[in-house]
């Protein structure tokens, strides 16, 4: 099955790329690494009139220390670069772990940080061939007014299945978005809309350019755990990222717990922070935190495994992610 026809545009700068995207008003696309988008093109989930070469964005491939001691990562940085980066490993381990869990090595060689953050939401009734989809009425995400996953569902709950975003939210990351009329920096949490039909805030003309992570102190630990059926390839069926900072007494100063792949956006569990901060970790505390995460996770039946199983696994993954973090493996 060939790709749909489109023009190929090669802007010379990021600004020119933004202008083209703006003029295209949704009909021009950026490929990034293309590992997900090419598949969406082939199944005609997108039929852009033109595709922009990523050459103009190649300046966005970097991982470096920021002036405030934090980390900045260009959107075109590959996941392979992320997993091998000593800068990431040293203080932001949860991100490296999450990167290693994505797809398989040849995918990580080309897939980018920006592409992963901008992944479209997924649903087993949506990520199908054109022939398959045409056999039933269009769902919300396709512009129709039904949901095939949930009987009488009233909105789209397609799942955001990126591995990096939960880790980055746990690290308190922000993203820099470049547009025609300038740029802005917003917390990554605000990047996601929670709407399955349109999972992020990018408008035509916007390009996610950079991820900025606040500085990490020496006693910050992180852990990422992913539910998958195979040792590779799979998108997360649920994901849990945690970042924990302890003080000299071993008590928790800061903690963020974020769930992935159970909703249209990464889902933070603020109750976990409330429970953890000021405490030392005990089994019963861990149990309570896992319960809070379980309460918050409300996956629906739109992936290849049962929703109640995914929900139960959140409890398990939370314990493991925190365990991995505090054991120093993180």
């Amino acid at each position: 099955m060939q790709l749909p026809r489109f023009d190929f545009l090669q802007p010379r700068s990021l600004q020119e790329a933004c202008s083209i995207l703006r003029e295209g008003n949704g009909k021009v696309s950026v490929l990034a690494g293309g590992t997900a988008f090419m598949v969406a093109l082939r199944s005609r989930l997108h039929t852009p009139s033109a595709v922009i070469s990523t050459k103009a964005l190649s300046e966005l491939s970097y991982i470096r220390e920021a002036s405030d001691g934090g980390l900045v990562i260009g959107a075109m940085t590959t996941l392979e670069a992320l997993e091998n980066s000593p800068l990431v490993a040293n203080g932001y381990a949860v991100l490296g772990q999450a990167a290693r869990f994505v797809g398989v090595p040849p995918i990580r060689h080309v897939a980018t940080v920006g592409g992963n953050l901008c992944l479209d939401t997924r649903c087993i009734f949506y990520n199908q061939s054109e022939f398959w989809r045409k056999a039933r009425p269009d769902c919300f995400k396709l512009g129709g007014d039904v949901c095939h996953a949930i009987d009488k569902g009233r909105r789209c709950l397609a799942v955001y299945q990126g591995d990096l975003a939960p880790a980055l939210v746990a690290l308190g990351a922000r993203v820099r978005i470049v547009g025609v009329s300038g740029e802005k920096v917003i917390p990554l949490t605000q990047f996601y809309t929670g709407n399955g039909e349109k999972p992020n805030v990018l408008e035509p003309g916007d390009i996610l350019a950079e991820v900025q992570i606040p500085p990490s102190s020496g006693n910050t630990w992180g852990g990422y755990e992913k539910l998958r059926v195979r040792e590779g390839m799979d998108f997360p069926l649920a994901g849990v990222a945690v970042s924990i900072k302890t003080n000299a007494n071993g008590a928790i100063d800061q903690a963020r717990l974020v769930l992935g792949a159970v909703a249209p956006s990464p889902l933070e569990v603020p109750e976990a922070t409330e429970l953890l901060v000021g405490q030392k970790l005990t089994d019963s505390l861990l149990e309570s935190v896992a319960q809070k995460a379980y309460d918050r996770a409300r996956p629906v039946a739109n992936l290849a495994v049962d929703a109640s199983y995914r929900r139960k696994m959140v409890r398990v993954l939370v314990k493991r992610a925190i365990g991995r973090a505090v054991s120093g493996n993180g």
Partner: protein, 158 residues
């Protein structure tokens, strides 16, 4: 149909082509360059039979636009042997029975080559990771792993 000029470096040769912009690297390799050793097994980046080397790294050619890989060095399975002399990875796969129906084989060999070029003595678990993107239905992966481990010089688990 709208076509654009694209020049590709494939197996050390400069190829100047006029192609529609929506053509993938896989389609150009197979249809325009007639290098059919690169296989098409799924077209969604999951099977690995279309693996080629891009500047020495294993990538899926079905997920790349041909127009995007100008200026990079591409190696396909046809670019490995030196005349009639097989590349060591090819020879190891033959000797150890790591090939059966052969449909995964070109991709598998290129993934192995990319690994060994970077890391000449990988452990078995590193080898299994490196080929985890190449599906195989015939071998249970065992003889493929053994073939690669014979080159790595590291022990194989039993």
């Amino acid at each position: 149909m709208n076509k654009i000029p694209v020049s590709l470096n494939v197996n050390g040769r400069e190829e100047n082509l006029e192609i529609p912009p929506h053509k993938t690297l896989l389609e150009v390799i197979r249809d325009d360059l007639n290098l059919t050793g690169t296989k098409c097994g799924c077209e969604d980046g999951t099977c690995g039979t279309c693996t080629v080397l891009l500047d020495g790294a294993a990538v899926r050619s079905c997920l790349l636009l041909a127009a995007e890989v100008q200026g990079h060095e591409i190696v396909t399975i046809e670019g490995l042997a030196d005349g009639e002399r097989l590349h060591p990875v090819q020879q190891a796969i033959v000797n150890h029975g790591g090939v059966q129906c052969g449909f995964c084989t070109p991709g598998m060999i290129l993934s192995a080559k990319a690994l060994l070029d970077k890391q000449p003595s990988p452990t078995e678990s590193v080898v299994r990771q490196a080929i985890s993107g190449n599906l195989c239905r015939c071998t249970g992966y065992t003889k493929i792993v053994e073939s690669i481990m014979a080159l790595s010089g590291q022990p194989v688990s039993s």
